[in-house]
Symmetry: D2
Subunit: 380 residues, 4 copies
């Protein structure tokens, strides 16, 4: 079996989630590629050594440019903070590496465009880690929609609610908290959480034509971990927007880190002429499905426990009734990517797919500033 | 429209629930009988006068024997404690009154037999207030079973869990607390709560052949409200039993007043070859339904919001989505009873139907004493 | 006990719901006023006679102006379609009657202003039937907020989802369908459904400063029942809007009659600094409550079964665990109103309170036309 | 770091689940032992080679006796069908290996006693894979009980419901279906499913004093995969029993493979004086908790999303809100076992702990035959 040698940049939360996916994929999926954990890269040598030892990476680098240049690396996985995606991706593309990039693709559409251009010019397989597409219940939703079961779509609504930044004592910046630093992250909940909601929405329901948004920063100043000073908070703590899809359906999107009681409650619901679908991340193994074509007296929302062998990806895991978790979506993504590599075809979401999400985010943030409806730039 | 003149004995919790049903039934149901609230009866004249004024009874009595004899009463409703059902029912039958009797029919099967004999000899319409049959979701369950949708039944399970007697400081006996007094009530949770579960079970799943039970009295002594002394508690605080139905299905039943967190959680579930059904009183407007004949990938428990006009009784009330409550089951029962009266046919559960429940209770209590399987006496 | 003589205009869905409330209130609540069902009014004499007979109204009228002038009527209840509220309310006020008016108060703010002026000039007790405030779970939510348990409020979100107008074959106009006729109703889901959401929101979370809305009419033409012709549909089938409350919190509101699978799903959620609350009409007897002050490991959303005697209004009904339904909110409203009458104080929501909802609706509909944020007119 | 070299016997469903646990444990847990996947053993050489390649075992064996004798194996994991546990465990103990044995420990108590004797005589660390103890929500339940939060326990109830054997066309015996073959499995749902319920119950609520059971075999004959003939089915398809715990609490247990709609619905509920707990395997990441000491009006069942870093084991995985699945319980078990090995202490459930479950199963099956209450043999 042909090897596929991975070089990982970053060793934080996502570095762990991706490493786990790489290590597990060949245990559960029959593939033409054998993943080899070749090298891990991070600026802090002691930490990256620990990380490599724990996950079985054969070697370490402290300079990502070196990693990108190494001949024994086939694939570069970018798990560094958002402000580094651009340079890393361009360099990796130039070096002819396959690239997996953590979401969001970039801090904005402009950066994203350069990255798309780079990977397409280099002709390297590329993908962005919008992992929620591959939660089996979400994939099942996609299948049902593609079969036309919902009929004409009237409504789409999605939320991503968290509550971890309510305390004004929480600092911003630095390890683990760069998501609160606008310069590094690009934006707050829009790029971090709504980007997930938007990616899924584009996939399930097609393009978004225009948006109308409001944002808020509830805590105006926080201590910055790197400078040590109290600094103005630049990110959006909350963002809600109205949208019109190209197919005529109406949508509401909302995200916040100030929704007490919700840890990572990504919910989506789609209402069609014939059927509706709902899902939430807190019970990710269930798909809610309502079909108006059921016999009248017996209509009801079905709670589908998506753990059967005829459910997406579930033939690879355990037996009916036994749930998988969050991390498995990453394994599925690696499996699909490797299958695409073996077959020489692109696997969504590519950088180009992810650019569309970036454009929606740009329009959302612009609308929040202009207080007007803003059209979403089309991906050419 | 012909009048049907009601005489009510008792003015406690059930006196209220039944009075409400009598007062409302003609507002919502088209019937050939107009209920007239003729007389209310209770030993405490001041209290019964208040009660009559509140509910619109035209007159009061303090001696139930007088009420039973009155010429202007067509129907006697027995809402007195269990130990008085026998005498009242026999007297009312002799007086040629229609009789509605609060459940359980009696303290035991022997009393029940006499009551059945009395009403059948007198040829008077009679019914027992096992109201849960007429919660729309439960009635819908009955319809589905009768249509054969479940196929062969494998399992039946029911529970009725409460938590209101956990404190040892709660006294027994007297107004509101006679249910803790074995002499008055006949038994504890068996006659009070399991009787409901058993009535529904017999209706939905046919006869029970044999049972094997255990009971427990957690608090052994309580102050008696009438004697003022601490006395031994004679009731069963909890009762669980295994059962075999005549149709071969296996069952578990359980009831307790020591299940912290449950106020009146009557739950039932039936598993058939093709489909299963579940319901609980805490969300009484919903029926859970699983149909294995649904397409494989989309199978799931459906939560049916039983509020549509094609659901049992629901065309009489509001519009889809708007729930009714506990008390409506009594209105439905009066409506069905009146329809039966107009048409000259018996409406279940009659005294005879309720006698079967009594026999099951007898077998359960006997088994708890003998520690053996006990056969249920057949209603001839 | 002093009588309060009711004259009811209208005998449709709401005529029934209100009549039921009037008939039941004295059975369950101890009040200084005895409701007397004096007269029912409707244009179709045969139908109004039937209605009066069913509900116990002593007399009928076919001209509402006569009803309003009758000396033996203390209170006029307006259950006619929205376009008649204005004239009826002004005439009733001039005649010195107490007035209960079905929601929405009027077709728009201008009509509402005239009505407020009329009742305040006449000095008559007045109230609007925003009944959901008096669902016990919602009232409990209000109590918790007023006690400051939630702390600073960050987010409010409400939806009212239905699915009954999806078929293009459904006609508009006339009995039962006037809600689809913009001239009669004033608007579509905004005045019909969002008005409920807005009323509750103003009550729970204070004034709304500005809104940004989109509306849609999915089915553009429908046959009109009165004219017999296919006519343009003037109402909004769906409406979603962003809002900023005066207290700084962000909100999303949405309503539609095209959400397959939802019959009358009014949901609301409020996220505060310390606690969050959620409720939905499909399970109206439950309040969801999350308190961050609970011990860390044991934090979770509590599903409060609002049926205990220390829950709002619930001491009047049955025992813990036994749910009431939709209609009881109307009984509660009558009870509170009568108590206010006896004590000589206004009871919310008065016409003036309801005018604020009207202003929000006006701003919402305007924003949907202008595609801009619109300020909500303040109630002076 | 010291190595711990694993030899795995069996490569079926459990062989996969355990291998996954061994491979992952060092990625997520900080331990003094590094697991080495040394050898996999199975009778079919081609299959075991595939299995070894997939999971990274360094070598294979086709004779388990050879595996057990190998010097380079520290730990033998027994994942063979139940009828082989005895011989394998005794041989492994004699060879001085640590032993992990799949549940149930044996086909009955007698076999179990021999196994306990063997490992205790050899003094080797030993454990049985009752993995559900280490679902974080279940472990949290144990912590709450041990802290005394529930107070005196009144009730315990557990069910394990499946629906995969309803079809009479399903054969018995051989690979994947040996659980239907009484000779191999020892019993049906009692040893397979109820053993899990019993193990958890003993852990959470102490010893069971006596039981009263009924069993049923719904499909009496099935084709046997190995003999090719239609043979009598010897297993129990369903089993329900009443029980009394040593602490005085009452219990009901039930298991079946004929509960349409349930895939692997292991549920448990415990009612104590002060608080109650409920959990189910279909939503394994949630613990339901009711505390009567909460303020009266705000009491409700809390749905605890057991994904926070202060929840058992959850600091090892992702971030709050992101669920883990079924398989993680095995990882936790390996982690705890290795910690015990490093510290030289036994980790529950040991063979001796599992013997108690075996005794309960024996009493259950005996009671089903005798139709009487049967005492549970005490583990000396």
């Amino acid at each position: 079996m042909k090897e596929l040698r991975v070089g990982m940049i970053g060793y934080g939360f996502m570095g762990r989630a991706h490493s786990n996916a790489f290590r597990r994929v060949n245990n559960f999926f029959d593939l033409d590629r054998q993943v080899v954990m070749k090298a891990a890269c991070g600026r802090n040598e002691a930490k990256v050594r620990d990380f490599a030892a724990r996950w079985g990476y054969e070697s370490v680098e402290t300079d990502w440019r070196k990693l990108v240049e190494r001949d024994d690396i086939d694939l570069v996985d970018i798990c560094a903070p958002n402000d580094q995606h651009l340079d890393m991706a361009i360099a990796a593309a130039k070096a002819g590496k396959m690239i997996l990039c953590e979401k969001p693709l970039a801090r904005d559409g402009k950066e994203g465009e350069k990255m798309v251009k780079a990977v397409e010019k280099a002709g390297v397989p590329n993908m962005v880690w919008y992992n929620y597409r591959r939660i089996p219940a979400v994939t099942l939703a996609k299948q049902l929609i593609d079969q036309g079961r919902l009929g004409k779509i009237f409504h789409y609504r999605a939320k991503f609610l968290q509550d971890w930044t309510i305390s004004p004592d929480l600092p911003q910046g630095g390890a683990g908290l760069w998501r609160l630093d606008a310069k590094v992250a690009g934006s707050g909940v829009t790029g971090d959480l709504l980007a997930h909601c938007i990616d899924t929405a584009l996939w399930l329901n097609g393009s978004i034509a225009k948006v109308n948004a409001m944002t808020e920063t509830f805590v105006k100043e926080r201590k910055h971990n790197l400078t040590g000073k109290v600094e103005k908070v630049g990110i959006d703590d909350a963002c809600a927007f109205l949208a019109r899809f190209g197919n005529g359906s109406l949508a509401t999107f909302e995200s916040t880190r100030y929704a007490r009681g919700h840890k990572a409650l990504y919910t989506l619901e789609i209402n069609g002429e014939h059927a509706s679908i709902a899902w939430d991340l807190h019970d990710l193994h269930r798909l809610q499905y309502f079909d108006h074509r059921d016999e009248g007296r017996l209509r009801g929302w079905r709670s589908i426990h998506v753990t059967d062998s005829d459910h997406p990806y579930m033939d690879k895991w355990w037996v009916p009734g036994l749930a998988i978790g969050y991390e498995h979506s990453f394994v599925h993504q690696v499996a699909d990517f490797l299958e695409g590599v073996a077959q020489g075809r692109a696997v969504a979401p590519t950088f180009r797919d992810a650019l569309e999400t970036q454009y929606v985010c740009d329009a959302v943030l612009k609308s929040a500033r202009t207080d007007k409806w803003e059209k979403v730039k089309a991906v050419k």
